[in-house]
Symmetry: C3
Subunit: 298 residues, 3 copies
């Protein structure tokens, strides 16, 4: 039995040392996957520790779109184990003196990347426990190309790998921030008499569904019920783009192919769609704060 | 020596328990990779067991295209180790009472997803050993968003992970099906006098090659030989789209750049292509049961 | 202590045997990810050894573009651990008697694929230690479809997996090459009086930046300095496509959104771009030896 115990201890403590640390790193960028940039990041991570499990969130964030990057994190993070390190590199400010940070959320996840608003949704929805600025004098890959720093690869992937592998602790990243993180303007829903006034947060692009910031609790308070009809008006700035009476449904299964419906999406927000077709491109609809989405009792 | 033996036993039995189960899960969806849906599925899997090896078959199945999903499984499955669990979520019937199932094929692979015809090719070509309906009262992720079920993430990825990790056995999924799986209409080849009458199964999209359901054995029986010419007629419903005399070749290497050829593809079916160009888009050809493909002796 | 030692030895030597070899394989193809081809390659690799860590470089190399494939390897390789095996299948000569090879670079990486010029950049920049021709009589997956060989899956992925897992050594691949590898025409930079005459190597497609073959050392010798203006002329064959005076900058951070700049890219080559817009598509610019890029003092 003593041998059993010994071996058990060995397995538990030696494996991480020889490279079976088994923490998750998840990558999100706007780099696409046509070239070698993402692969170089992964090579850097495995060079630190082959036991790290590397996955992709997406590399198809539209170029420089911090808002969408922030939303994709929110959509995904809570399904990953505590301790997962997210590397998120949408970095229009590369080459300026924007800070490089590691944040720890109240959900126990880590986020590595530039300070530019990418954590707006995580901070708003889950809260941040602590944020530290990466000490660039210590945490930077000694590359063969010494005169150039590709932050995604040389700083963010590298620092994430050291953190995930336990080679450094969170406190060794650098000093806590002394001024707040940059935050994007986060739209709020208003209720006026007979109307809910929200905005279009994002498109569910693969299907062309349109997702709003109106939460299911708001709908409940407003008395929205499956099978009932509501007037929906969508504005792009001041211009009406869509204005119809449409039924709220529990599920796509209740709707004929090609018909429109209001429903609650996987993140519990109000959405509008055409069953098995692309609502957003049919009506030329996009997302952002200037896309108002109004639901009215009829 | 006793110590060696002990240690060996430990390594074999403890590793799976602490999370090195090392089974494969392969994901196929029509979700695309622009948003967080696939990543959330992976997070759920690693939350069950970090030792699972998660791969993608494809997430670019055209939206709702069960036929293509079924074919892609057939194209891929036999190259994966026995025990691999395929999660396949092309689910136009989401929200209806379509069944959720796990099938075990005679090749020793598992398939998790909605019952909608996705397993047509696997059943036809490899055979199914047993199919069980997922007991949704037991196998569902207790999500933070309790009122909504995203089946791909909360049921299919979650159940696949429990099965792959050995946390549940196949028999614990739910009861065996009492009525047959849904099957898609599976086209058969006809031989008439001087003609083989088949259909276009699918496009080899990256290169624009056109793959038929005419098998190499049929060609052999018909006497098709490398270097000989055949008349090929392609119909879209009743309309002739292509009608030319063309040579059958063993390999693309025998054909000049830009020339057309008949050949046998990697799944041993007759195909037609232009060497280093896109046959399908040149002639506006697509796939499906209404795309007839006729080979005639000349 | 003896037990500790025993167990340590066991963990180190038994783990690889039961499938925790933990070597990296990186895949590069022009197959895309819409079908099952890449997934079948991965299945073959895991069937050899589940402990191999499989990653993608890219599967979006433009069809048959050996030049770009060669460049992507150069861009990526040095960030991966020594011993990593790259499988690279851009194979317009499939079906001809082109050789199948495994090369070992002086950086300690392996490359598996057809001999067609894909290793031009690796050979030029890092050097090759030895190249062996794959003995196809020994190294070929015994597939269920015995009459057909899909080289990417049945030869290259399979051989790479046996090499990465230690099931065969490099010398067992086949005999050393007796004639040189095929090499692509590799452009050289010329200096004439007041001009640097280079070519456009490749586009940084995600952002539309244009990368040349003019190295930072050449710029230094020529006296190029941040903040100074230079005349840039871009020719497509003999036609001038772009001809303007433009400033060289250390970083995008110094440039207004929408302005053009000259800069040094992540591989230490001269590049031209529009800050947060797509220079290449604005000016209809592409890459290749017939795209001259001339920098002139003003």
């Amino acid at each position: 039995m003593k041998n059993l115990l010994y071996s058990f201890v060995i397995v538990l403590f030696i494996l991480p040392i020889i490279g079976f640390s088994s923490e998750n790193i998840v990558l999100q960028t706007d780099f696409g996957t046509k070239d070698g940039a993402v692969s170089a990041m992964k090579g850097v991570i495995y060079s630190v520790d082959k036991g790290i499990i590397v996955s992709d969130l997406t590399h198809e964030i539209p170029a420089y779109d911090i808002w969408e990057a922030s939303y994709r994190l929110y959509q995904t993070v809570s399904y990953w184990p505590k301790g997962t390190v997210f590397v998120t590199v949408i970095d229009p400010g590369v080459g300026t003196d924007r800070r490089s940070i590691v944040a720890k959320s109240k959900t126990g996840h880590y986020f590595v990347g530039p300070d530019n608003g990418t954590l707006t949704w995580i901070e708003e929805k889950f809260g941040l426990e602590e944020v530290r600025e990466i000490d660039l004098s210590k945490h930077r890959l000694a590359s063969s190309l010494q005169s150039f720093t590709f932050f995604g690869r040389d700083v963010y992937a590298y620092t994430a790998a050291k953190l995930a592998s336990g080679k450094i602790i969170f406190e060794a990243i650098g000093k806590p921030l002394t001024t707040p993180l940059i935050k994007l303007n986060y739209p709020k829903v208003k209720i006026e008499n007979n109307k809910i006034i929200g905005t279009i947060l994002i498109l569910d692009k693969q299907y062309g569904n349109v997702w709003t910031n109106i939460e299911s609790q708001t709908l409940k308070n407003f008395g929205v019920k499956a099978g009932k009809k509501y007037k929906v008006t969508i504005y792009n700035y001041d211009k009406i783009v869509y204005d119809e009476i449409i039924t709220f449904h529990d599920t796509f299964g209740n709707v004929k192919k090609g018909d429109n419906l209001l429903y609650v999406n996987s993140l519990l927000n109000l959405a509008i769609a055409t069953n098995q077709a692309d609502f957003a491109s049919t009506y030329h609809i996009n997302a952002g704060n200037h896309w108002k989405f109004i639901v009215e009792r009829v």
